[in-house]
């Protein structure tokens, strides 16, 4: 187990190294120089040169690269061109919003998705099955941002019940509970957007997996044992569908992070996703690199976690 862990860690670090290198190369292949976008074009060439020098952008690439790696190791991504704040601090300050948004939507999405999947799998061929499967396909085909905008318009305007931007009122109410309520209210639409666009695939995945599992021989055994329908469904069918669901859970986390870019922008939420977007639009190298590193680490950790949890839920995987 320990050697296994070390090996995985080694692989993880290797992947990370590749990712950060690609990251470095990619953004230096992009046309234009950061100075053009960051700074008013009115600047004289001499002034631009001064700026390039100040940010180390006119050093040869290999020196920039060495510096870059050195900084990554010390979690020093430098300061954002835009805000002059250390990128790491900025990312950390934005993390809670992203975690809250993604955490709550993911939880709700998975729980409802799996619940709906069980519901329709046990009623295969019924009207419920047709309706829910149809809607899942419908919403699954819609781009996420479109669903978000739809919700924004419907619940933000026509049925004016939920706030449409930010994570709090400006300014927020006083008192702890009113603040919590305010915060939750602001979460409703963004979370709903993520849930609506993702819950369908979870439902379908659960449903299809359960349907296959329900046809398996051991389900017949479980039935023949005299177990109740509930027990067969939950204790056997769902239990053995758990490993793939767990894998899906962790492997779809990265997608959710990507989705956060869109959702955070639409709902003006100060999170990692929006940070990445802003940084990219403004060619803010340190910020982009920092955000990508952050996301890469998150994704790799998800993979690692997936592997370990998979081992917990599927006894057929052996570790030595």
């Amino acid at each position: 187990m320990r050697t296994y862990f070390l090996r995985r860690l080694f692989v993880l670090l290797g992947s990370l190294f590749v990712i950060v290198t690609v990251n470095f190369v990619l953004f230096r292949l992009m046309p234009g120089s950061p100075v053009d976008t960051v700074i008013s074009p009115d600047f004289t060439p001499e002034m631009k040169a001064l700026l390039m020098e100040r940010y180390g952008l006119n050093e040869p690439y290999y020196i920039q690269y060495g510096l870059y790696l050195k900084n990554l190791i010390s979690l020093n991504f430098g300061r954002s061109f835009q805000t002059r704040l250390p990128v790491w601090d900025e990312l950390l300050s934005r993390l809670p919003n992203t975690l809250l948004l993604l955490g709550s939507s993911f939880l709700i999405m998975v729980v409802t998705g799996v619940a709906l999947g069980i519901f329709v799998a046990s009623r295969r061929g019924s009207r419920w099955d047709t309706v829910l499967t149809g809607s899942a396909v419908f919403f699954g085909a819609m781009p996420g941002f479109f669903i978000a905008l739809l919700l924004l318009l419907v619940f933000g305007y026509y049925i004016d019940v939920f706030p449409v931007h930010g994570t709090m009122s400006a300014p927020p109410p006083t008192g702890f509970w009113p603040r919590v309520y305010d915060r939750l209210l602001h979460l409703v639409l963004p979370v709903a957007s993520i849930v609506v666009s993702g819950v369908g695939s979870w439902m379908m995945y659960t449903r299809n997996h359960l349907v296959t599992t329900l046809a398996a021989d051991f389900i017949r055994t479980a039935q023949a044992k005299g177990l109740s329908k509930r027990r067969v469904l939950y204790g056997h069918a769902l239990r053995s569908s758990l490993p793939p669901l767990v894998t899906l859970f962790f492997l779809s986390l990265p997608n959710i992070i990507t989705g956060a870019v869109v959702i955070e922008s639409i709902f003006s939420i100060q999170g990692i996703g929006r940070y990445l977007l802003q940084a990219t639009l403004r060619q803010d190298y340190p910020a982009i690199e920092g955000a990508f590193f952050f996301i890469a680490v998150a994704v790799l950790l998800c993979n690692l976690l997936a592997d370990f949890v998979y081992r917990l839920v599927d006894p057929r995987i052996e570790v030595r």
Binding site: V11, T221, K225, G226, R316, R320
Partner: protein, 624 residues
């Protein structure tokens, strides 16, 4: 003690293509403590019948008729009452294919306990004790409760399945093909287990099988089922000795045809004399050596089962072939027999260098195949061909018979046109035993029967006029009635072309009919090598003896004996020191535990790898 009475049972499946009658007007009576065997080919409705008895048919199936357990018609009571009062508590079932029938992610003990809790309110401790009890009843250690199904061997899994069926101490047990996926040694053990349990608990047993010989030794009565009906139903002796229905007669006949005569206890039946086995001639015995394998090893560095591959995964060394010496002469048929996993398939593939050997030499017509270049190997391929077990998987469904058989010619660049190749294809098909080869040329594998397919596969192997043919279980996927044809085809072409054949099989009786010499393999090593007749008359190795014992006949007069080699094959990645059989061998001594016996000539042409060959023979002969 319960009695089961079935009257006018019908099972109909309502599908999109209309109604399918799976069981039609079946009636029978099973007295308490009696055993009924239901025999029929797959699709005859025997599994639907079993499902109906437990009321676990899929939703599209409907049942009519009456099923009385004692005096209750179980088709008349509501589902919940049936579930709690009958299903599994009074009528339980052993499913076939225990790997799939047990939930892979739940521990065995839990799966058994669940069944108990579904019917009885017992404490955790009581349930655990019961689990351990039923495990012990079927000969499993109590610790097995903590295992997952994949951690058990096939035999252990089947035992666990039986333990699960016993969880609520049922009165009626239905066993649906309980031994089908098992090796012969294990099959006998499981059947004996069922017999013992039946006696011990006064169980009424319904044993469902496609194999007449399985029910012959277990059941008081036999029902032969065909197309949903009982075509014959009566006491076992009666049915086997005087089959009335033509279907039953045909079925019984397949067990008595020469090539599949079940050789019970080494008694050579008089009909065997006519078998070509005895025509083993000296010229074949002394002919030119085509293949000489020396010290062949094939070790796999096998990764542990893992969901994903990462560099530097955990390896385990599997010694699939571990030091084999073997020679095959021109025109000779050598059989290679052994339990599944003994390494016989790997040996066959390594000989043709379809697998890279780890060590050893393979002299084929004076050339060491283990060392030739790829180009040279490619040239030599035309002289050695392989034929696979599965005629469905080994033929490309998109190629016609002509294209299929001509393909090796094409690859080897033989002949300039299809027309030129065609005559050769036709000849090969004829040699393979196909009556009117021309009519078959433009057909596709999907349009052929299983037997025809296997003969087409044989023709493809023969078309290049090879010197050596390796046939890997060519019969195992075929129905009993088709085997005779395929075997005949093979034998003819071997004789006609002076072909050397390595015949890999787990079925001793067909090997006896086909082969000049037979090699018995156990855990990567050949343990006994002898002329077929000699091997059957004087099996020297305890393992060979056990295999012979385990061959079942349909003669109800012959009793099943518990095989003297019990238990399971050891872990291949950690073979036992000394003789590899010693943990299972009744004759094992201290010497067997430390030193591995080599394959040595015991008498002329009869080699055995056993420290106690002579003693083994004596005990065996005495036991008979």
């Amino acid at each position: 003690m319960a009695e089961l009475r079935v009257e006018q049972l019908n099972v109909v499946y309502h599908t999109d293509d209309g109604a399918i009658q799976a069981v039609e007007n079946v009636s029978f009576h099973l007295a308490p403590g009696r055993a009924l065997g239901i025999v029929g080919e797959s699709g005859c409705g025997k599994s639907s019948l079993a499902s109906a008895l437990l009321r676990i048919l899929p939703p599209e199936g409907s049942v009519s008729g009456r099923i009385y357990v004692d005096d209750t018609d179980i088709l008349q009571i509501d589902e919940n009452a049936f579930r709690t009062q009958f299903r599994w508590s009074r009528v339980a079932m052993v499913f076939q294919g225990a790997m799939n029938a047990l939930n892979p992610v739940i521990r065995i003990g839990q799966q058994i306990a669940e069944a108990i809790w579904a019917h009885e309110r017992v404490t955790k401790t009581a349930a655990r004790q019961r689990v351990e009890h039923v495990l012990q009843l079927v000969g499993l250690a109590p610790e097995t409760a903590h295992r997952y199904p994949h951690e058990l061997s096939g035999g252990m899994r089947q035992r666990a399945m039986i333990a699960l069926a016993l969880a609520c101490y049922p009165e009626i047990l239905i066993a649906d093909e309980p031994t089908t996926a098992l090796d012969t040694l294990m099959q006998v053990q499981i059947l004996l287990e069922l017999n013992r349990l039946r006696r011990q608990f006064g169980l009424s047993l319904i044993l469902i099988s496609h194999d007449l010989s399985v029910v012959a030794h277990t059941c008081d009565e036999i029902a032969v089922m065909s197309e949903g009906r009982f075509v014959e139903y009566g006491p076992t002796d009666e049915v086997l000795r005087r089959p009335a229905h033509p279907y039953t007669q045909a079925l019984v006949r397949t067990y008595s045809e020469p090539h599949t005569v079940k050789v019970g206890k080494g008694r050579a039946s008089p009909t065997d004399a006519a078998a070509p086995t005895v025509s083993t001639t000296d010229d074949r015995r002394d002919g030119e050596i085509i293949l000489e394998v020396k010290g062949l090893h094939k070790h796999y560095s096998q990764r542990r089962r893992s969901r994903r591959r990462w560099p530097g995964g955990v390896h385990a060394l599997v010694r699939a072939v571990d030091g084999v010496d073997l020679t095959i002469r021109r025109g000779e048929i050598v059989g290679l027999v052994g339990e599944s996993g003994c390494g016989k398939t790997t040996l066959g593939r390594t000989i043709l260098r379809l697998e890279e050997p780890t060590a050893g030499s393979i002299m084929f017509q004076g050339i060491d195949l283990a060392r030739v270049s790829t180009a040279e190997l490619r040239r030599l391929r035309r002289h050695m061909q392989i034929m696979y077990q599965d005629p469905f998987g080994s033929l490309n469904p998109r190629l016609s018979v002509l294209e299929t058989v001509a393909e090796p010619l094409h690859i080897q660049g033989w002949g300039r046109s299809m027309a030129e190749r065609k005559s050769r294809v036709v000849q090969a098909l004829a040699d393979a035993g196909i009556k009117q080869p021309e009519s078959l040329l433009q057909r596709y594998p999907g349009e052929l029967s299983g037997g025809q397919r296997q003969r087409v596969a044989l023709a493809r192997a023969l078309v290049l006029n090879p010197v050596l043919l390796v046939a890997d279980e060519p019969l195992s996927m075929l129905d009993a009635s088709l085997r005779a044809d395929v075997i005949r085809g093979m034998m003819q072409s071997v004789r006609r072309r002076s072909l050397s054949l390595l015949f890999i099989t787990h079925d001793l009786s067909s090997a006896r009919y086909v082969c000049d010499r037979i090699a018995v393999m156990y855990m990567g090593k050949i343990v006994e090598l002898a002329p077929a007749a000699s091997l059957f008359e004087r099996p020297l190795h305890p393992y060979t003896q056990a295999l012979l014992d385990a061959v079942l006949s349909i003669d109800p007069g012959v009793n099943m004996l518990p095989p003297r080699i019990a238990g399971d094959v050891a872990d291949h990645s950690a073979p036992p020191a000394g003789c590899r059989l010693h943990p299972r061998c009744p004759l094992a001594t201290e010497r067997c535990r430390h030193s591995a016996p080599g394959l040595e000539m015991f008498e002329a042409n009869h080699a055995v790898a056993c420290h106690h060959g002579a003693e083994a023979w004596t005990t065996y002969a005495l036991r008979r």
